[in-house]
Each structure stands twice: as C-alpha cells, then as structure tokens.
C-alpha cells in the first residue's frame, strides 16, 4: 500500500499489467525514453525496452491505426495521446475501425486496446490542452468511455480497460494528476467498467459528476449540507459509456431532483443523455427539471478566463438551489 497521486497510480497499473501479460504494450509520442508528457509512462521503457514501450512518430492516425492492427493480430496496445485535443487525427481510426471490427466481422475479429489521453481544464493551458471531448467517444457504439476521478479508481479502471476485450477510451483529468494522493494497494485491483459509484449518500438531491468535476460536486454537496441542511447524493459516473442507467434512476427515484456537472460543452453533451436517461428511469419521481452545469457552448477560452468557463462550486450550488426551490 502506498500513497500515490494519479500519475503514479496509473503508472503502477501499466507496470503491473505489462508484467502480467507480455501482449500488453505502450505506444505514443515520447512515452518511452522521455516517460510521457505527464510522466505516466515513466520508467516503463527502462523496464520493458523499446520493443514494448514504443516512441512513435508524431502521427496520431498512425498511432491509433497501427494499434488497431496490433489488436487485430492479438496484442493489447495502450496508446497515449499527449492531449485529448490532439486526438482527432486518430479519431477516424477509433470510430471507423476499432469500434466496428467486432460488428463487421460478427465477433471473429475484435480490438482489445486502450487509448489514454489527458483531458480537461484547470491547468492554465490553451484550447486543445484544456478541452473535454468525452461526448464524441461516448456517442460511438463499440467504444467504452471511462473517466476516473482519483488515484485509486484510476488505477483499478485502467487495469480493467487493458483487460477489456473491447476498445476503451480512457480520459485522465489533468487537473487531478497531482491533485491528491490516495492509498493504492500493491496487489492488482480492478473495478468494473460500466458501473457508477455512489460517492456520498443523500435523499434530497442527486449530483452527477465524473473526472475532475467530482471534487466540485463533493464541495457543493458539503456547502449545501452546511448552509442549507440539504443532503445530496453524489454519483461518480466513472464510465460515461456504457452509462450506468440503473444507478442514476435509483438515486433520482429517491431524491426527485438532479443536477449534472461536466466540463464538456453543454449542448449535446453527456448531460443531455444523462438527463434523458433519468427521465426514462425516474420520470414519476421527478419534482423539478433536471439541470446541467457545463462548459458554455464556445471553444475553450484561454487561461485568462478559463475559471469562468469550467464549472465551479458556485455554479453548482446555485443550480442546486434553483432545483430545490422549484
């Protein structure tokens, strides 16, 4: 058991899975000798060498596309894209190949692969280095979209992602990389993909969040408790797709109110699907319209104004109070 930040926890997952299964390999720009932009792959090159920790040229379509080929052959590649904003040149390979081989070949070929990428704001960076694009991936049948919220679940979910027989897009919140340390057990731990976690129990209001927004939701819940005497249930989605609709419905059937928090753009964002799912599963329990606190429908603004764009505690508390007052 060690106290690890998210970078170290992810590194541990990669290390242990590579030790356990020699078909697992890591590929990306500067993941090898250099240890990765955020150092998630640090030391792996020293341990496993260039055969399994592959510094690729700067070519995202080639990184993801060759990983699809590796997976078709039976290897289990874990790609790193330096920032999620750089992924779109490889997007096609995910959407058109990784996601579809199983269906097109009726299960005779499939792509066991992970594409990891840092996402989200809060690190004073510009557009492509701060965006949240999970909705693009969550929209694709055949892809699983996972976003952990802390070191321990990041490690356990990455283990599951690597072992998952389907392609997994794995978003890592940059704002969380060094934010906190948690106890992470030495022995390998895996968390099921597709299952949300009830992070805080409450009967008055459901707050749905994931990734870096979990902290925001937690703080908002605490303020609502302290100042308003309101008990919020906080749901940490962990997997965006496939969505854990049962947990969402069960919570809102209890609370009757929901606020969804995400960094992705508001319109056609994950919140829209989450809200629709809650409507389907808890319509008769709803006592107020479901609210979304999200980034505004604009390209990510530079660091000077990013605090106004990324949802913060104040906005979440305000939305919660409106919902409660409805």
């Amino acid at each position: 058991m060690g106290k690890l930040n998210m970078v170290k926890a992810l590194n541990l997952a990669l290390l242990q899975e590579m030790e356990r299964d020699e078909d697992v390999l890591v590929i990306g720009e500067d993941v090898g000798v250099d240890g990765g932009v955020f150092r998630v792959t640090e030391d792996l090159h020293r341990k496993f060498g260039s055969k399994r920790v592959i510094d690729s040229p700067l070519a995202e379509a080639a990184i993801v596309g060759t990983a699809v080929g590796m997976a078709l052959y039976g290897l289990k590649p874990v790609c790193e894209i330096q920032f999620s904003g750089f992924a779109f040149q490889g997007f096609h390979q995910l959407e058109n190949h990784a996601a579809r081989y199983r269906q097109r070949s009726q299960g005779r070929f499939h792509c066991q692969m992970v594409v990891r990428m840092p996402y989200g704001g809060g690190v004073r960076a510009l557009e492509h280095h701060s965006e949240s694009e999970e909705q693009f991936y969550a929209h694709i049948p055949g892809i699983k979209m996972v976003i952990p919220s802390g070191p321990r679940n990041a490690r356990a979910l990455l283990v599951s992602a690597i072992r998952d027989p389907d392609p997994v897009v794995f978003f890592e919140a940059k704002a969380l990389y060094h934010a906190a340390r948690e106890d992470v057990p030495d022995e390998i731990e895996a968390l099921p993909i597709g299952r949300a976690h009830v992070d805080r129990q409450g009967g008055d209001l459901t707050l749905v969040a994931y990734g870096a927004m979990l902290r925001v939701a937690r703080e908002a819940a605490q303020i609502l408790h302290d100042e308003d005497g309101v008990e919020s249930e906080v749901i940490d989605l962990l997997t965006i797709s496939p969505l854990d609709r049962e947990t969402l419905a069960a919570s809102v059937n209890k609370t009757g109110r929901a606020v969804i928090v995400h960094e992705a753009l508001r319109s056609f964002g994950p919140g829209a699907e989450i809200a629709a799912s809650i409507m389907e599963g808890a319509f008769l329990s709803l006592e107020a319209p479901i609210r979304r606190v999200a980034a505004y429908d604009v390209p990510f603004v530079g660091f000077a104004r990013e605090k106004a764009n990324v949802p913060d505690v104040g906005r979440v508390v305000a939305a919660a109070r409106e919902t409660l007052a409805f």
């Binding site: 690729s56 080639a62 596309g65 060759t66 080929g69 097109r104 009726q106 049948p141």
Partner: protein, 331 residues
Amino acid sequence: MAQGPLATSGVDTGLARHLLSQMMLIRRFEEKAAENYALGKIGGFLHLYIGQEAVAVGAASVLRPDDYAISHYREHGHCLAKGSDPRRVMAELFGRRDGLSHGKGGSMHLFDKSTNFLGGHAIVGAHLPLAAGVAFGIKYEGRDRVIVCYFGEGAVPQGEFHESMNLAALWRLPVIYICENNRYAMGTPVERALAEPNIWRFAQTYGIPGEAVDGMDVLAVREVVGRAVARARRDREPTLVEARTYRFRGHSMRDPAGAIYRTRDEVEREKLRDPIVLFRQRCLTEGTLTEADVKAIEKDVNDLVDEAVAFADASAEPPLEWLLTDIYKEA
C-alpha cells in the same frame, strides 16, 4: 524467380492452371455479381475488379495461408484469391445470413478469419496503418509471416499512406503495400491528383524498396511480390509495389461505362491487354496448358460461380435480432 515477365517458362502446368483458374474465377464472379446487382439482389454500390485480376492472383500466389491480407472496398478479388469460399462471398454481396460477415457487412466489408483476410475498408487510405500494426504484431511475436495491403492510387494523397510508409520503413515491418494504380480515382486521373504520379518512387523517400510492375501480367506481379515477400520474411523489409493496371468497368455500378472521364477508345485499347487473355495465350503458345485444359477450367469456374449464386439465393436474410448484436463482447 528467374523467369522473365513475358515468358511462362519455369511455370509448371499446375501453377499455370492455378493462376488462370483463379483469375477466371474472379472474372466470372464479378460478371455474375454485376448481373445480380442489375436484378436488384445486391445492394451497396458494388465495385468490380474486372481487369485487375492479375494483381490479386499474382500476389496471393506467393502467400502462405497464415499470411495476412487487408484491402480497400474493391476487394472481392483479393478476398477470393486469399482463399475465401465464393459461395460465402456472394452471399455477403446479397446481404444474406450465410455471407462472410453474416450479411451485415456487404460488398465493401468482407472479413474472413479462416484465411486471415482482415477486411475490405471503405474509407480511402484509412486501412494502411492497420497493416503496419498487424506487421508489428508479426514481428513482435518473432514470426516469419507477412501482410499484404491492397489499395488504389486514390489513397496516395492521403496522410495515412505517408504515415504508414514512414512507420513501416522506420520500424522495418514485414508488410507489402500494393498500390493498384488503375489510373482513376472515380473520375480523377492520377496526373490531376499526384505531384509525383510514379507512385513507386514514394518508396525512395522512405528508404524502402519500391517497384513498378505490369499489373496485367500475372507472372510479373508474382515475381515482384514474391521478391517483396521474401524480403519481408527474411529481412523484415517492407516494400511498396505499384501495380499498373486498369479497371475495365466503371468505378461502381452507378458509373457503368465510366466514359465521361476517359474515352471509349482508351477503354477498348486497354482491354487488348486483358490479363486473362494474355496469360491464357501464353500458356497455350508455350504448351503449358492445352485448349482442353482451358475449357475444363472454364467449366469449373462457371460451375463454382453458379453454385455461389444459388447458395446466396437460397440463404435467408439475417434475422432481425442480429441488428443489435456484436457491438461489445457479450457477457
């Protein structure tokens, strides 16, 4: 590998029969596919391989069953040459449950695990990195298999062509990229699409072997691809082959004559270099095959294709429940 491209010497009767019957099978298959498309039995545009048979057959003839092949959407010939059952290929074109992809893929998406045929791909240029990845896997496991990757010259301006050439060369991957230059990407002639229309020369940029070959000459293709395969197996050296060929039909069935962007004269002139006629003639002239052999081959392939059509016709449509299956691994 010593025979010159225009002679059949060194080719025994068995091989000659194999090459001719494979080309004739593909030709007949495509003609029947066209007929059935006209009858409304086939959907999905249908891109015929007629005229280009020598490329798939010459290349596949130097592969082992455990080698891999991957292709674009004009792939019926590549799939058949790799050894797929014509009945199941035809059933796929018909969208029937016994098709190679259970009727859910269609003409452009044939996959066959039993022959290591990794599919037809409809997005031009996008499958080239996949071939590099498979070749990486082969090398990773230390095997002596290879993969051939077929594509049209329309893919060459795409970034993925260059990304893949670079990776294959950089990592020394056992992949043979075979560009079938049939001179037109739909209606765009190669001269209007590429600053360097001699496609094999892109290999020089990446420091790998590159060769142009007469894609109407099955033995020449066999020789050039044979050398490339040997290099890939032995030295893990990738190759870019430019097979110069011509499609006798339109781009798809929507463009039946293909006569807006090229002249009828040009098409007729190219048909004089029909790869099947050329090879058959050579075999007869040199005595490798007799008229009776050729007649027997013709009858065999006609029977096979008739059987394929009957099989496809008799196969049911995919059950409605299959609409939602095989998206994720089922628990």
